[in-house]
């Protein structure tokens, strides 16, 4: 299995979370933003076309009202119905009335009153009429209703009424120009009014409004010429069918939204055109920002993941290296981990554990060494060969003198002494055994020295099972004999006594020999090795006690010159194991 580092895992996790988060968030916000934009545009466009329609209705309504006012004017009415060569006075009054209207309302370009006879009166009597005028030929008149029932409104058209100009107007006609029963009245609204109104409206960068009438003819379009040349097209049929509302279409390779409102008064449909690509341009900007922020966050996240993982993995790596060193047996390694987190704590715990292991290892080594030394010391404390030589010499001597029973006793005691001494097994034996061994030693010496040596054993029976070391007492007794008793005048006495004090057992080996001055006592255990063999026995015993039972145990001395010496063995009062 491939090992995946914490670092790569972290970086992957961070990147994934950030990418997915940004993607989902970005996509959602984009979609919502786009939808909101389109809805907002549709709402404002609906308001716009509605408002535009009301304004146009206002104009057309005004033209209609104006037409009715003129039509119902008593002078006009009388003149229209009057004799064919009209009354000049009345004609003058009608002309004056007509002339006054465009002066009040400049957006009304002209008023044209046509009598059934064909006589034409205009609000610009100073202007020469176009001699080629043929009103009846104009197609938009076809549907003109009788004057009483309403009026007809033209699309934007060229008024060629006057000889000296062509004028863009929207015309409203009252009456029936085709048949002319009772004549007819035409009101021309200057097209500039509508053109200015619509041209100012810009929707987005290149959106616009246009107006078509119920017949599908364009009333206003900012690119009329393009529409007529076929360079530009609009979905006029769909718009007329729709009458009111929204229509999405693809025109000229661009997606757009038509917002249509149709006036019931004029039958004109005002259409707002908004291009989707322009609408969504800001959404695209948002998309760019989202992507940029996403990439930025990704970068930062990767960087942070890298840093964080370093903070974790670097101490772990150090710890791992240290543990590798420990594996190879280097328990003295220093775990150099500087981290104030869990890894740091782990490292410190490891350090403590390694320390413990190291101590244990050390202790084990020391113990091994101690054991080894103990064995060595015991070997060294083997029985003084002089003792064997002297004893054997005594036995020979007894046999020569024919003291066979003594020789036998001594020989058997010697045998017992050796049997006790060579017993193998643990170093620890009971005080009882050790005492037996010492007694056999003392009884041999007693046989050799006779009255010169007295001895007694005074140990409380409950102490007999105390664990002591093999060959513990014999060297002390031997010392007491050779350096204490043997040097004094007259008989001497050796007492081996045992007593329990607290958790200790003290076994005292006392003699009433020559004793020692205090400075000699102080040097007993310090004397350098190999100088005096006698002292070596003491040091040996002392070391063995300390090694075996611990440093708080061992030997102490009480001595006074001429009075004797007591060696005190300090032992733990342990129950027999």
């Amino acid at each position: 299995m491939k090992v995946r580092t914490i670092r790569s895992s972290l970086i992957w996790a961070f990147s994934l979370v950030i990418s997915v988060g940004i993607l989902v968030l970005g996509a959602f916000s984009l979609i919502l933003f786009q939808r909101a934009l389109i809805e907002e545009t549709q709402k404002s466009n609906t308001q716009l076309v509605g408002q535009l329609n009301r304004i146009l209705d206002g104009y057309i309504g005004y033209m209609h009202d104006l037409a009715l006012v003129v039509w119902n004017n008593p002078d006009v009415d009388a003149y229209m119905a009057g004799p064919v060569p009209g009354d000049p006075e009345r004609r003058r009054q009608v002309l004056k009335f007509l002339e006054g209207i465009p002066q009040i309302r400049p957006d009304i370009d002209s008023l044209v009153l046509t009598r059934p006879s064909g006589e034409v009166l205009t609000s610009n009597p100073g202007r020469k009429l176009n001699p080629w005028l043929d009103k009846k030929a104009e197609p938009w008149f076809a549907s003109a209703p009788p004057a009483a029932s309403g009026a007809v409104v033209s699309p934007a058209r060229i008024e060629n009424l006057y000889d000296d100009r062509y004028q863009w107007v929207i015309s409203l006609v009252l009456g029936q120009p085709r048949t002319m029963p009772g004549g007819w009245l035409q009101v021309d609204l200057n097209y500039a009014v509508i053109d200015d109104l619509c041209r100012k409206i810009q929707l987005g960068r290149s959106g616009y409004v246009f107006i078509v009438n119920a017949g599908g003819e364009i009333v206003y379009h900012p690119r009329q010429q393009l529409v007529y040349s076929g360079i530009k097209s609009e979905k006029i049929d769909e718009i007329l069918t729709l009458e009111q509302g929204q229509l999405e279409a693809r025109v000229g390779g661009r997606d757009l939204v038509y917002t249509v409102a149709t006036s019931s008064q004029t039958g004109w449909s005002v259409v707002a055109v908004s291009y989707l690509d322009e609408l969504l341009a800001s959404a695209r900007n948002l998309g760019t920002v989202v992507v940029a922020v996403g990439l930025g966050c990704l970068l930062i996240a990767t960087f942070l993941a890298w840093r964080v993982s370093l903070r974790i993995s670097r101490p772990i790596e150090a710890l791992r290296r240290s543990m590798k060193a420990v594996e190879t047996g280097d328990f003295d390694v220093v775990i150099d981990v500087e981290a104030d987190n869990e890894v740091g704590e782990l490292a410190r715990d490891c350090e403590i554990a390694i320390g413990k292991v190291r101590d244990l290892m050390h202790q084990s080594l020391v113990d091994q060494e101690a054991k080894r030394q103990q064995d060595l010391l015991m070997l060294q404390s083997q029985i003084n060969p002089h003792f064997l030589y002297n004893t054997l010499d005594s036995i020979i001597w007894m046999v020569e003198l024919g003291r066979s029973p003594d020789a036998i006793r001594m020989t058997s005691t010697l045998a017992q002494f050796f049997r006790l001494g060579i017993t193998r097994g643990s170093h620890e034996i009971s005080l009882r055994h050790e005492l037996e061994h010492v007694v056999s030693y003392l009884s041999i010496q007693k046989m050799r020295y006779g009255d010169k040596l007295e001895y007694s054993i005074d140990v409380e029976p409950e102490l007999l099972e105390t664990r002591v070391l093999k060959l513990l007492l014999q060297p002390l007794v031997e010392n007491a004999l050779y350096h204490g008793i043997k040097e004094r005048e007259g008989p001497g006495r050796i007492i081996v006594a045992g007593a329990k004090t607290g958790d200790r057992v003290e076994v005292r080996v006392s003699d009433d020999g020559i004793g020692m001055p205090a400075e000699k006592v102080a040097g007993l255990l310090l004397a350098p090795e190999g100088e005096v063999r006698d002292h070596m026995g003491l040091r040996n015993v002392h070391e063995r006690l300390r090694l075996h039972f611990g440093p708080q145990y061992g030997l102490t001395f009480e001595s006074a010159p001429g009075l004797g010496t007591t060696v005190i063995i300090h032992l733990p009062s342990r129950a027999p194991s």
């Binding site: 000889d163 863009w168 690119r223 010429q225 040349s229 360079i231 930025g296 960087f303």
Partner: protein, 324 residues
């Protein structure tokens, strides 16, 4: 270390999002003349500016006040090349003399679109305007519908050396050859007065004349005046080219049977559109005929023709076409 890095990243983010300055392609449009009273050129300009709005480019108009200032126009083109626009739209004042300037534009890697009037080189990136031969053929076809086979007809052209006149004459000849008896071509020098006199003379010399084609606006106006005065409007079918107030009045009066009208708005519009496309590295047809429309008394006030003949936005504030 962490926070400065984050700050730098954030800064980069802001910089990348910061709005730049106006980076829309800049197009220089050089017409034959910038006189606002000239309906034709005003309409071309209107088309160009409309296209600028629709295409999201900026259009700057640079030009001479007279159509005849060819040297000045050459200088304007050279200066425009030095300004390194995204593209140039040019209505060449001279077929031959503008050739070096057009070549310079090409050498500078600036797309140059010729509109209405072209140059005698293939170095222009695109040609947009009326196919004058086709216009001549249309005029011929129109005449043939009005006069019988074998009728005597005359042609009133304008400048012999002009490439457009030559093309129109050629097209006309193609249409008329074999159908009618053709008098030698007359040249008005693009002058109304001269056209008027030539037509008077023609009408006097050839009582049996049944058809006359005037190949540009001044020639048409002059011919109309002469024919109207002669009182032979019913006998001589007059065909004209290019509209003006007087021309349209003559159509209304029935003096001018039909007039062929070019599409200046479309020239300007398509010229800028072509320039935009070429500047963006997209393809555009090398030549584009914007076509012509035949106007008669019957079709003069049809809505689709009204928009062409009486362009709203180039009219004066009252939105009317007044007698000049």
């Amino acid at each position: 270390m962490r926070s400065p890095t984050a700050a730098v990243l954030f800064g980069l983010l802001l910089v990348s999002c910061a709005p730049g300055r106006d980076s829309r392609p800049h197009i220089i449009y050089i017409p034959k003349m910038v006189d606002g009273a000239n309906t034709f050129w005003a309409t071309v300009k209107e088309g160009a500016l409309s296209a600028a709005d629709d295409q999201d480019v900026t259009v700057e108009v640079r030009g001479t006040s007279e159509e005849t200032q060819v040297d000045e126009q050459i200088q304007i083109v050279e200066a425009a090349i030095r300004d390194r626009p995204a593209a140039i739209v040019l209505a060449a004042g001279d077929f031959l003399r503008l050739v070096p300037a057009v070549r310079h534009a090409r050498a500078a890697g600036i797309p140059l679109v010729t509109v209405d009037s072209f140059v005698a080189t293939d170095d222009a990136s695109a040609k947009i305007g009326t196919d004058n031969r086709q216009l001549g053929r249309m005029a011929g076809g129109s005449l043939l519908r009005m006069v019988g086979a074998g009728s005597l007809v005359a042609v009133l052209s304008y400048i012999k050396a002009s490439s457009t006149a030559r093309d129109r004459e050629q097209g006309l000849a193609e249409a008329l050859t074999g159908g009618v008896r053709l008098l030698p071509t007359l040249y008005s020098g693009s002058d109304q007065e001269s056209a008027y006199r030539l037509t008077q003379q023609l009408l006097n010399e050839h009582r049996e004349l049944q058809g006359l084609v005037a190949l540009n606006e001044p020639s048409t106006v002059g011919a109309c005046r002469a024919l109207a005065e002669s009182g032979r409007r019913g006998q001589v079918a007059l065909i004209g080219v290019d509209a003006s107030f007087e021309v349209l009045k003559s159509v209304e009066a029935g003096v001018l049977r039909s007039v062929l009208v070019q599409q200046p708005f479309n020239m300007g519009y398509l010229g800028v559109q072509a320039a935009t496309e070429l500047a963006a590295g997209r393809s555009w047809p090398r030549t584009l005929d914007t076509g012509a429309i035949e106007i008669t008394k019957e079709t003069l006030f049809l809505p689709q023709n009204e928009k062409l003949l009486f362009p709203v936005t180039v009219l004066n504030s009252a939105h009317s076409v007044l007698k000049p």
